[in-house]
């Protein structure tokens, strides 16, 4: 009996192989293998002229964790910027998704298309578009000048606020979509039942709608918080490279200083932080959050 069960299990797994096999190979080659290489390099020693030596060493980790407060500060700053980005995306993205879902009517597809369409263009193009919008003498400055609200162009670019604005602009669609999917998945009978039982619209929102979209919120959080945490191009181009995030530090170690092991160690620390955060999000948001991402 047990042998038969094992046989059936193997048979089922073999049947799944043609569908799961290619994607597993893909994930192994392009996700796990590169991460393994980075982890491996992070534990190697560096020679006097920057070359990697085939010798085990934890020097890079020691340097990063105890070498100076600047590195920890850059990581904390990244977490703060990513958190603010995430919160603003949530505050803006939820009403957007809610409005499209509830009042979009036959134009729902069009509104969703408008949300998605900016993300079809290249990342750098979007950053430059934002620069044209808020830069000097950008569209926003010209508009405010013409209305007489300001007497000279205001400096929006190259500030920490501009970095957060850039991150919000880039990642907002990735918050709207999972929340929209969650909202669309709510059974209307549940909402009607809550009204029948005497709930006010506000009470209905907080006790029925919001808990049922938890998966979408956590899914959106994963999709916006994690890429924002590792971003380096927005601080470089919109922040004028005046303040670093963790990604800029990795680029600094790898490119400017040629410390490959140290850049790898920093990447490993950041990846570990991200994995921990994903674990927490899944624990809090349930498996539905992962489903929303997928």
């Amino acid at each position: 009996m047990a042998a038969s069960k094992t046989f059936m299990k193997i048979k089922t797994n073999l049947q799944l192989l043609p569908t799961v096999g290619p994607i597993s190979i893909w994930i192994f080659l392009f996700v796990f293998a590169p991460v393994a290489v980075i982890v491996f390099i992070s534990f190697l020693a560096a020679g006097p002229i920057g070359e990697i030596l085939p010798r085990f060493s934890i020097e890079s980790y020691r340097y990063l964790l105890f070498g100076g407060s600047e590195y920890g500060r850059a990581v904390l700053r990244s977490i703060l910027y990513a958190f603010v980005t995430n919160m603003v995306c949530l505050c803006v993205g939820f009403p957007m998704a809610y409005w499209i879902s509830k009042y979009g009517g036959k134009f729902k597809a069009l509104f969703l298309f408008l949300v998605i369409v900016p993300s079809w263009s290249c990342y750098i193009v979007r950053i430059y578009a934002l620069k044209q919008l808020v830069g000097y003498p950008g569209i926003l400055n010209n508009f405010l000048l013409n209305l007489g609200f300001i007497s000279s162009p205001i400096n929006i670019l190259y500030t920490p606020a501009a970095v957060v604005l850039g991150l919000i602009y880039i990642w907002l669609p990735f918050m709207v979509l999972p929340i929209y999917a969650s909202l669309e998945g709510i059974n209307p009978a549940l909402l009607e039942a809550s009204l029948d039982l005497g709930a006010t619209p506000r009470w209905q929102f907080f006790t029925v709608t919001l808990p049922l979209t938890k998966g979408g919120i956590f899914g959106g959080t994963i999709l916006t918080f994690i890429p924002a945490l590792g971003d380096w191009l927005v601080p470089l181009l919109i922040g004028g490279n005046r303040v670093w995030m963790a990604g800029n530090l990795i680029q600094h170690f790898l490119v400017v200083r040629g410390k490959i092991a140290m850049a790898s160690s920093m990447a490993v620390i950041l990846t570990a932080a991200v994995v921990l955060l994903i674990y927490m999000f899944i624990k809090l948001g349930g498996e539905e959050s992962m489903e929303r991402i997928v």
């Binding site: 006097p48 002229i49 920057g50 070359e51 100076g68 600047e70 590195y71 500060r73 850059a74 830069g135 000097y136 003498p137 400096n155 670019l157 190259y158 470089l236 004028g240 490279n241 005046r242 303040v243 670093w244 800029n248 600094h252 790898l254 490119v255 400017v256 200083r257 040629g258 490959i260």
Partner: protein, 395 residues
């Protein structure tokens, strides 16, 4: 009679015949257009312009047999006609790869020392690393007679390549600053000294952009406080750090390529290689608003050096290309386009007047006051101290 519209088979045959005919015709046209001007060494020698010399037969034949030539250089800098002219003349296809900055290019070699490039345009810092990793070929001087003839003696055995073994100088840039005279009075008494860049924020109203390059920015700051830009003295570097920390609130951004912002009037003063702004000035109108400032006590000198990595497959083509580039008319085409300083002795009469004004410092012997980045600045303790300053500056 069959109906062409209805008979699918016949339509298909006609379509395929037309396609094959078109492809064959295109191939023939391409073969005629792409055919090299010189096919044999004899033809090559006969076609050499006056005042120039050919490479030896061995170099020519090896280069042509290689068919392709892998080049690693800046994007959109040198004029395209240099590359196209070489391809057309010798029938060697140039396969170009570009880098956004030299540190990134060096990182590529650091990760794979056998990266297969035949020619790399680089700077003294990368040269030093490449030499120490032993991944550079020595230049065969017998294969570059035009370089031997026209390259000035004072740049042949320079500090960046003692013994003149690995490099051929292609251009020399002065890394100082440029002001936009539309917004800044060109008669300000502090211009062109470093004092204006480091203390003139009352005039430039925080519209300053510094290069996003640690060694260059710290080097020029050291120059401002009167030290060598290769200093490793902790006290001098500490002083430089104080100057930069004081300046930071007035720095709009760290950006190595702020040309868009400069053109838009977003930036009024920019620290960088002064020559890069002539082309922008030309675009701005008949009156060039950009003024290059050469600080009297000198600045960072940035030589662009051609080197031949060991990983390449056609080093002979690299020699052939260098010899071709050093023909006076070709080199003048290059300098008239990029407006950089150089060490070519044969193009004085071929250079545009506006370019001469930009590429030449106002004072005779200015180059001697300038310094090139040398290993003490970017290795060991010097590098560590500079990285510390840079990291603090970005907090």
């Amino acid at each position: 009679m069959f109906n062409l519209r209805k008979n699918k088979k016949v339509r298909f045959v006609y379509f395929m015949s037309g396609l094959i005919f078109f492809l064959a015709f295109a191939f023939m046209v391409n073969s005629v257009l792409a055919a090299p001007t010189v096919k044999t060494y004899k033809q090559y020698v006969a076609s050499i312009p006056e005042g120039c010399k050919p490479v030896p037969r061995e170099c020519f034949e090896k280069a042509v047999a290689g068919k392709t030539f892998a080049m690693y250089d800046w994007a959109a800098w040198w004029p395209e006609e240099i590359y196209k002219g070489f391809e057309k003349e010798f029938g060697i296809k140039i396969v170009r790869d570009n880098y956004p900055n030299l540190d990134e290019a060096l990182a590529k070699f650091r990760l794979n020392p056998k990266t297969p490039y035949d020619f790399w345009l680089t700077n003294p810092k990368s040269l030093w690393y490449m030499k120490n990793w032993k991944i550079l070929k020595t230049v065969n001087h017998d294969w570059i007679p035009n370089v031997n003839r026209y390259m000035a003696k004072d740049v042949q055995n320079a500090s960046w390549d003692p013994g003149y073994k690995y490099t051929v100088l292609t251009s020399l840039g002065y890394d100082a600053y440029v002001v936009n005279t539309t917004f800044i009075n060109r008669n300000d008494p502090r211009i062109p000294s470093w004092k204006f860049l480091f203390q003139g924020w009352d005039v430039y109203k925080d519209k300053l952009v510094m290069r996003n390059e640690m060694n260059r920015v710290i080097g020029n700051t050291l120059k401002y406080i009167g030290c060598s830009l290769n200093s490793t003295n902790p006290k001098e570097l500490e002083e430089a750090e104080k100057v930069l920390v004081r300046l930071k609130p007035h720095i709009m951004a760290f950006n190595s390529w702020p040309k868009r912002a400069v053109m838009a009037g977003e930036v009024w003063i920019v620290e960088g290689i002064v020559h890069d702004y002539l082309s922008l000035g030309k675009l701005a109108g008949p009156e060039n608003p950009f003024l290059p400032a050469y600080p009297p006590n000198g600045c960072l000198l940035s030589p662009m050096l051609a080197v031949i990595p060991k990983g390449g497959n056609n080093p002979a083509a690299a020699h052939l290309f260098l010899n071709y580039l050093y023909r006076p008319h070709k080199f003048a085409t290059l300098i008239n386009a990029i407006a950089y300083g150089h060490g070519h002795t044969g193009i004085k009469d071929l250079t545009d007047e506006s370019v001469k004004k930009w590429m030449t410092p106002p004072e005779e012997g200015y180059r001697e006051k300038c310094e090139v980045l040398l290993p003490p600045a970017f290795t060991g303790e010097g590098e560590k101290l500079r990285a510390g300053i840079w990291e603090k500056l970005k907090k």
